[in-house]
């Protein structure tokens, strides 16, 4: 598996509403910038890139996260793909989205201490027929079906493919 992209809080393109808040969680030296997802209001945000020339399906997303407060229960992440082929697709980017069916990661048991890093992978089998050269967006959602209490901090999202 080849690592293709690593997204952080500075890369996200939030929707008009119900998006995670950028936050700093290590206030001592202000180094850890995260996206804070509510545990009780479902929020999402997107990351956009171009599919590399040697892409090999499928993409897999790896979510690196910590919990702000929760120490028991699980965290559930979702990733959806929108692939747009330039000069071919007729999607009006001014006014429309076109995400494929959601890919839900398995419920991930959260660390027993808030602030400890966890990761969970999510194979994106519903890939919207992404091909080399497409402009692609990964829409990431923290599901309120997560049983762990409190907010979740998304540190990084790594995107790999099968190459």
């Amino acid at each position: 598996m080849a690592s293709r992209f690593v997204f952080d809080a500075s890369n996200h393109e939030p929707p008009a509403a119900t998006f995670p808040s950028p936050a700093v969680i290590d206030a001592t030296d202000e180094r850890r910038r995260v996206l804070e997802f509510s545990g009780t209001t479902q929020q999402n945000t997107s990351f956009a890139v171009i599919v590399p020339a040697d892409f090999s399906a499928n993409f897999t997303a790896e979510f690196f996260y910590t919990m702000a407060s929760g120490t028991t229960g699980n965290a559930q992440w979702r990733c959806e793909i929108e692939a747009v082929t330039p000069n071919v697709d007729t999607l009006d980017l001014d006014s429309a989205d076109s995400y494929a069916t959601a890919n839900d990661a398995a419920a991930d048991t959260v660390p027993g201490t808030a602030g400890h890093l966890a990761s969970v992978s999510d194979e994106l089998t519903n890939g919207d027929s992404a091909a080399a050269g497409d402009m692609i967006r990964f829409r990431v959602t923290y599901l309120t079906a997560s049983t762990a209490a409190g907010n979740a901090h998304l540190h990084r999202v790594e995107i790999r493919d099968a190459a």
């Binding site: 804070e36 545990g39 702000a68 929760g70 229960g73 201490t113 997560s146 209490a149």
Partner: protein, 84 residues
């Protein structure tokens, strides 16, 4: 009268967000936390009449229900701040 489902949900959500903002652990999952909210509100409904009866006259009759709740809230807030 007990709070309705929406009001309880808002308390449950606010608690989680507030605790998350100050990075304080919540060592129960969401459903257990909600059960605590429900039980505490039910308990208040059960003991409210007894609490009112414990207030001596003339305050019991002279203060409005809202004033008595406010007094109780101030007492509880002080106990919370002092952790007693």
């Amino acid at each position: 009268m007990a709070l309705n489902n929406q009001e309880r949900t808002e308390i449950w959500a606010r608690f989680q967000d507030d605790e998350s903002k100050i990075r304080r652990s919540i060592d129960v999952d969401k459903s257990d936390l909600r059960a605590a909210v429900d039980a505490m509100d039910d308990w208040w409904d059960t003991v409210e009449a007894a609490g009112n009866a414990a207030i001596p006259q003339p305050a019991r009759s002279a203060l409005t229900g809202r004033q008595k709740k406010y007094l109780f809230m101030l007492l509880l807030q002080t106990r919370f701040n002092l952790e007693v």
